[in-house]
């Protein structure tokens, strides 16, 4: 079957198969993406990140339901870690979203990180495009449970929400660099637990110290995701940020930056593949390695020679 065409015609099976092709880098993945690309750029891409156990999946479930009530169709990409030892993974985010499974307007896909370290999987961006071309109005990307430095989500999403919970550390944690810098919106989940107000104060202090020059001060919303408390207000805040991105032109800026990064990635991958296929695979390269090892020549000169040959 013509997967891309079937996908554009609304086949869920084709969408599912397309994501598999993309993720496994099948031979047809590039041709599928080429055909889908003109149909992308319409969805609102919303990133959810935060530490393990913060309630990202539960909150995603609740937010998705609210968006469905507003008549929007939803795609969800939920990422969980791949074992660096076995290559296997337990993808368990769907457990919190079982009631969405049979909703015709929702499509959920779980992905393993497969070696990627930034909180996403390497093919997340292309999977988003497949859902975008399929016609989803809003696409959630739920990252793996992150620590402090997995910030790839900002490159993939229009709006990024950081979910935090009380009890994870004192205020010095809040002034460290990393995920606290990437939130457009903050959600304090499990706000019925002790320490939520204190976390609220600490986050506010952090934002007050840094955010004076910006035209958007990230709002902090307290929620209790498993009871649905605060979810409607949270959606309002998310929508306000999206509207802010549009009116200030930042949406275009962010998306241009994303396009640029993606193109550079494709270019670098292409060059990498070329090097593997044409240079390191040849006997000539092994000879260079031997020469460098014996100190007859240095690696910098060798690489210079190779590059000069390449770029002729």
């Amino acid at each position: 079957m013509d997967i891309a065409q079937e996908l554009l015609n609304g086949s869920k099976l084709a969408l599912s198969r397309a994501i598999t092709s993309i993720e496994n880098e099948h031979d047809d993945a590039v041709s599928i993406m080429k055909k889908l690309y003109p149909h992308t750029g319409n969805a609102f891409v919303f990133g959810i990140t935060g530490p393990p156990g913060a309630g990202k999946s539960t909150l995603t479930d609740k937010l998705a339901r609210e968006y469905r009530l507003m008549g929007k169709t939803v795609g969800i990409i939920a990422i969980d870690p791949t074992s660096p030892f076995s290559g296997g993974a337990i993808l368990g985010d769907r457990i919190r979203m079982n009631d969405l499974t049979l909703d015709e307007g929702v499509f959920i896909r779980s992905m393993g990180t497969r070696g990627s370290l930034g909180g996403l999987s390497r093919k997340t961006a292309d999977a988003v495009k497949a859902m975008d071309a399929f016609g989803k109005d809003i696409i959630f990307i739920e990252t793996v449970g992150v620590g402090q430095s997995e910030v790839d989500i900002v490159k993939a999403a229009d709006t990024t929400m950081v979910v935090l919970v009380p009890g994870l550390g004192d205020d010095i944690q809040a002034i460290k660099a990393g995920i606290l810098e990437i939130g457009d919106v903050f959600a304090i989940n499990k706000a019925d637990h002790e320490g939520a107000d204190r976390l609220n104060v600490e986050l506010n202090m952090m934002l007050d110290l840094g955010g004076m020059t910006k035209d958007w001060r990230p709002p902090i919303k307290q929620v209790v995701a498993n009871q649905g408390k605060g979810v409607t207000e949270l959606i309002t805040t998310i929508e306000e940020h999206y509207a802010h991105l549009k009116t200030t032109g930042q949406l275009t800026t962010r998306r241009t930056e994303r396009t640029k990064n993606e193109m550079l990635d494709i270019l670098k991958n292409g060059i990498g593949t070329y090097i593997t296929n044409h240079i390191t695979a040849s006997g000539q390269f092994d000879q260079y390695v031997k020469d460098v090892e014996d100190r007859r020549i240095d690696p910098y000169s060798v690489v210079n020679d190779i590059l000069r040959g390449l770029l002729k």
Binding site: G88, G92, R94, N98, F107
Partner: protein, 130 residues
């Protein structure tokens, strides 16, 4: 090109005994599979739809309530109806030997009863996945 076997592990029916399903999920993970674990009390419709969205190669169901004769074949039929006829469907749990031939005739590739080692399940999936 990279091929990773994706398995949906599901607990249909109303019993809450998911220890077995979790042990199997963990063993499959350690064997290098991507396991989508959907948790307890899944309807056949939910299982088939999740299998479609996740594009899994295998659906593995565990049931200890005695409803296997009804639920397993239903999942097979729903999968076929969605165009997922190349999915390997396996089952496990306390299932009487006398029920197994009918389940196999209904499209369940294999039924693993108590005492089965996780190695047996892994080997079966590797040998039979399409």
């Amino acid at each position: 090109m990279e091929k990773r076997i994706r398995v949906l592990v599901a607990k249909p029916g109303l019993d809450g005994h998911d220890r077995g399903a979790k042990v199997v999920a963990r063993a499959l993970r350690d064997a290098g599979f991507e396991v989508i674990y959907t948790g307890l009390r899944q309807t056949p419709e939910q299982i088939a739809e999740a299998a479609l969205q996740e594009d899994v190669n295998v659906v593995a169901m565990s049931i200890l309530s005695g409803a296997h004769a009804h639920i397993f074949p239903k999942v097979v039929n729903l999968l076929k109806g969605k165009g997922m006829d190349d999915v390997l469907v396996v089952g496990g749990g306390v299932i009487p030997e006398s029920d197994i031939p009918a389940l196999k005739a209904a499209g369940i590739a294999e039924v693993f009863t108590p005492g089965t080692t996780t190695g047996t399940i892994i080997d079966f999936i590797k040998a039979n996945v399409k």
